[in-house]
Structures are given as structure tokens and as C-alpha cells.
């Protein structure tokens, strides 16, 4: 019987090793696989490459915590501002940054999952971020060639999951999660709820893209409450 549910965070993260390329979903406080990221920090694999939209906000949790522990060699993202942890490491030359426009980042990840090695886009053509990239004109428009991104591991948050690993999301919680789930060798999901069976018509991420699911009470509500209080 197919059953991708695992008992706890340790079982969910088993086997992640030094040097892993790790995609981490989420946009703002929503859709962050926060429990998985914090458990990864405890596990402590080193020399990680992180692919995410942001570099995170607070040194106490999430991606900045991974960085603060010295576990991250490089980050590929569109918006590294927010945490002083990244800024300090970056200015000290202790972490590498690949800055990618947000839509190009999303498409590179989607292509990684879809078996498309490279594509062309007008985004960034004629700008500093196209330096060193191959340029080609289609229908009179200059485009840059962008290569797919894949990962060893994707950490994903979902609203509900079933035993087959089918996922549904809530609100703006999809963001990078469904495409990262497609692009990694090992996709690990923290789900707010387990469902017995999801309606085939409304599933967003089919279970084929998912390897393990762990149930975790969402911290979105708590985070938002804290934000409001501050």
C-alpha cells in the first residue's frame, strides 16, 4: 500500500546530507515549511545550496537560522533583503548569492520539474542580471537563455495531504510549493492536516511529486499574531 505519511520530522528529513541542494517553498509567512526548516537546522547538514524566493527575516528561525549556523554555502533567490544574518555573511564574503528575477526563478524551477533543460525569456535582457548569459532574438525581442533548476530536496508546506501524497493548498500558500515539489529528487511536505482522500478534481500537487508527508500544526497564525503585536 502506498503511504507516504511519516511519524515525525526526524523521519521526514532522514538522509539529507552535506552539500545538498535544498528548495524551500513559501512567500512571506504563508506556505513556509517552517517546522521542516527548523528541524533541518537541528540535523545540521553543511555546505547546503538553498533555492528560495527570500533569504528570510529572523535569525531565530527559517533560512537565516540555517545561515547563522554556518550550514549554507550559497543561496539562489530573487529577494535577499530582510535578515541581517544574510547581509552580514554576504558582505563578509562568507556566502554566495545568485540573484534571479522572481518569474525566471519560478520558471527555472518549473522547467526543472518538467524535464526542460533550458528556455528563453525577455526578462533581464539588457540588464546587469543578463551578464554572461547567452542572448538571442525571437520575433524582434532580445531574450536570455535560462537553465532549469533542480534540487536534491524540496521542503514544502501544504494545507492538506492524503496517504498518496496528493496535496491541496490554502490562500496564497501555493506560491513556490507546487513547482518545487516537482523539481526535487526527494520532496518532503509538512501538511497542516491529513485527509483520508482528496477530490481528484481539486488536487493541486499530484502525489507522484511527493515522497514524504509529515503532519505539523501550522505556525502561520502565531506568526501573524506576533507581527501584529510588534
Amino acid at each position: 500500500m502506498i503511504d507516504k505519511r511519516v511519524a515525525d520530522l526526524a523521519a521526514a528529513l532522514e538522509g539529507i546530507s552535506d552539500g545538498a541542494v535544498v528548495m524551500i517553498g513559501g512567500f512571506g509567512a504563508v506556505g513556509q515549511p517552517d517546522a521542516l526548516v527548523d528541524a533541518l537546522a537541528e540535523l545540521g547538514p553543511r555546505e547546503l545550496t538553498i533555492i528560495a524566493n527570500n533569504a528570510g527575516w529572523s535569525a531565530e528561525t527559517g533560512i537565516p537560522r540555517l545561515m547563522d549556523l554556518g550550514l549554507v554555502r550559497k543561496i539562489i533567490c530573487s529577494f535577499p533583503k530582510g535578515s541581517t544574518v544574510f547581509k552580514d555573511l554576504f558582505t563578509a564574503g562568507k556566502i554566495e548569492l545568485e540573484l534571479v528575477p522572481q518569474g525566471t526563478l519560478a520558471e527555472r524551477i518549473r522547467c526543472g520539474g518538467a524535464g526542460i533543460p533550458a528556455f528563453y525569456t525577455a526578462t533581464a535582457a539588457g540588464t546587469r542580471l543578463a551578464e554572461g548569459k547567452e542572448v538571442r532574438t525571437f520575433r524582434g525581442r532580445e531574450c536570455v537563455m535560462e537553465e532549469a533548476l533542480t534540487a536534491d530536496v524540496a521542503l514544502v508546506e501544504a494545507w492538506q495531504a492524503d496517504r498518496w501524497g496528493n496535496l491541496v493548498f490554502r490562500g496564497s500558500g501555493r506560491n513556490f510549493n507546487p513547482i518545487m515539489a516537482m523539481a526535487a529528487e526527494l520532496t518532503i511536505v509538512q501538511a497542516h492536516q491529513f485527509a483520508n482522500e482528496l477530490d481528484p478534481n481539486v488536487i493541486v500537487t499530484p502525489g507522484i511529486f511527493v515522497n514524504r508527508v509529515v503532519q505539523v500544526d501550522s505556525r502561520v497564525e502565531k506568526l501573524l499574531a506576533a507581527q501584529k503585536a510588534s
Binding site: T91, P101, A122, S172, R174, V204, V220
Partner: protein, 218 residues
């Protein structure tokens, strides 16, 4: 500086934002950049229907909800709590940027450091000082949307022109901007450069030209 110009410059940005909002056609799909452009959503008159897009996967984004109506699972591109309007849809990041890059967004409103008379836009990083450059979705939006309107002060705080012959700041996208909305007026980017569409109350063409580093066509 004349008194009327001083008044226009002292405007709290409401008038220019309202002017832009009034130029949005009913039924358009509109993406609003972070900062000043976000305010455009509050200035669409009642009874009009404009669908706001947020690059993190929302079409049909509504105003900031009351504290007790906040859905913690719903934020906008600026990471703030938002609501949904009737007819809204939710999707993932690749589909969201397919809308942008594929030319399906009727209008994108962005802020700007500089706009050149050939439509070049610079709005993502400074020439020297920005140790930590962050691009977000600015480059995708600037090349993808059907129309790009820049909403910004006409000059910097130091009085330097932001409508220029050629950008000195690093480009976000070449030949991307269709219009610029400032406190002095609305300016189209045309084949011959900047052309006035509207002047703010009490502002003359000469007033604008004096604060612009490229020819302004009346």
C-alpha cells in the same frame, strides 16, 4: 519656485495616485508594485470592477481586511494581509508569472528611480551603493505587462531629475515604460520622447521642463 508648483510638489501623493487610478479601464487586470503603487487599489471608484493581481498567486485581490477578518493564509506581494474580491482565483508562482510574462496583465504600475525618454526603466538597484541587490518580480513585470506605468515623484528629494535622456542607474528593462505619473502630470513615452498627456493644476510645461533632463513635448 512658484507657489502653485510648491503646492503640487507638497501634495501627499494622493492626487497623482488618484489620477492614475482614474485612467485604469474597467475590467483590466492590474498588478501593483510595492510601495506607492499599492495605494492605487484604494482609489478605484465604487461600482467599477478592476481585477488586481499579486505575483504570489492571487487574481482578485481586495483591500486590507479588518483585524478580526484577517485570513492568515492570504498575503500580497508585499507580505501584508489582504482579502479576496468576488471572482478571485488562486494559483502557483509559475502560473502567476505566466500571466505576467505572457502578456495577460493589462497594466503594471511600478515605482521608479529613473525613466528614460526611450522607455528604459531603472527601479531595482542603485549604481554603486546597493551592497545587497534585490530584484523580486520587477524585471518580469516590466517586460511582461501589456502596459507599464511608472508612478513616482518627478524629482529626487535633492531635486535631481528622474525623467532623463538615458538612465544612469542599472536598468530593470529597456524600452519598457509607456507612461509616467508624477505630481506634475502624466507623460507618455513616445517615439520622439516624453509627451504631456495631463498637467497637474497650476503646472506649466515650462515648470515640467525645468525639472526634467530630457525634452518634454507639449
Amino acid at each position: 519656485m512658484s507657489e502653485t508648483i510648491e503646492k503640487a510638489l507638497g501634495d501627499d501623493r494622493v492626487a497623482m495616485t488618484r489620477r492614475l487610478a482614474g485612467d485604469i479601464a474597467d475590467g483590466w487586470y492590474v498588478n501593483l508594485g510595492v510601495g506607492m503603487p499599492t495605494k492605487v487599489a484604494d482609489m478605484i471608484d465604487d461600482g467599477r470592477e478592476v481585477m488586481f493581481h499579486s505575483e504570489n498567486g492571487i487574481l482578485g485581490m481586495g483591500p486590507t481586511p479588518a483585524e478580526d477578518e484577517i485570513d492568515p493564509w492570504l498575503v500580497n506581494a508585499g507580505k501584508k494581509a489582504v482579502s479576496l474580491t468576488p471572482g478571485a482565483a488562486l494559483f502557483h508562482h509559475a502560473d502567476s508569472f505566466a500571466m505576467i510574462r505572457g502578456g495577460h496583465i493589462d497594466l503594471c504600475v511600478l515605482g521608479g528611480y529613473e525613466v528614460a525618454e526611450n522607455g528604459d526603466l531603472a527601479n531595482w538597484t542603485t549604481p554603486s551603493g546597493d551592497i545587497l541587490p534585490a530584484v523580486g518580480g520587477a524585471m518580469d513585470l516590466a517586460v511582461g505587462a501589456k502596459r507599464v506605468w511608472v508612478l513616482m515623484q518627478h524629482t529626487t528629494r535633492d531635486g535631481a531629475a528622474k525623467l532623463v535622456r538615458r538612465c544612469t542607474y542599472p536598468l530593470t528593462a529597456p524600452a519598457a515604460v509607456d507612461r509616467v505619473y508624477t505630481e506634475l502630470g502624466t507623460f507618455a513615452v513616445t517615439e520622439e520622447g516624453f509627451r504631456v498627456l495631463t498637467l497637474a493644476d497650476g503646472v506649466s510645461l515650462a515648470d515640467v521642463q525645468a525639472r526634467t533632463d530630457a525634452p518634454i513635448h507639449g
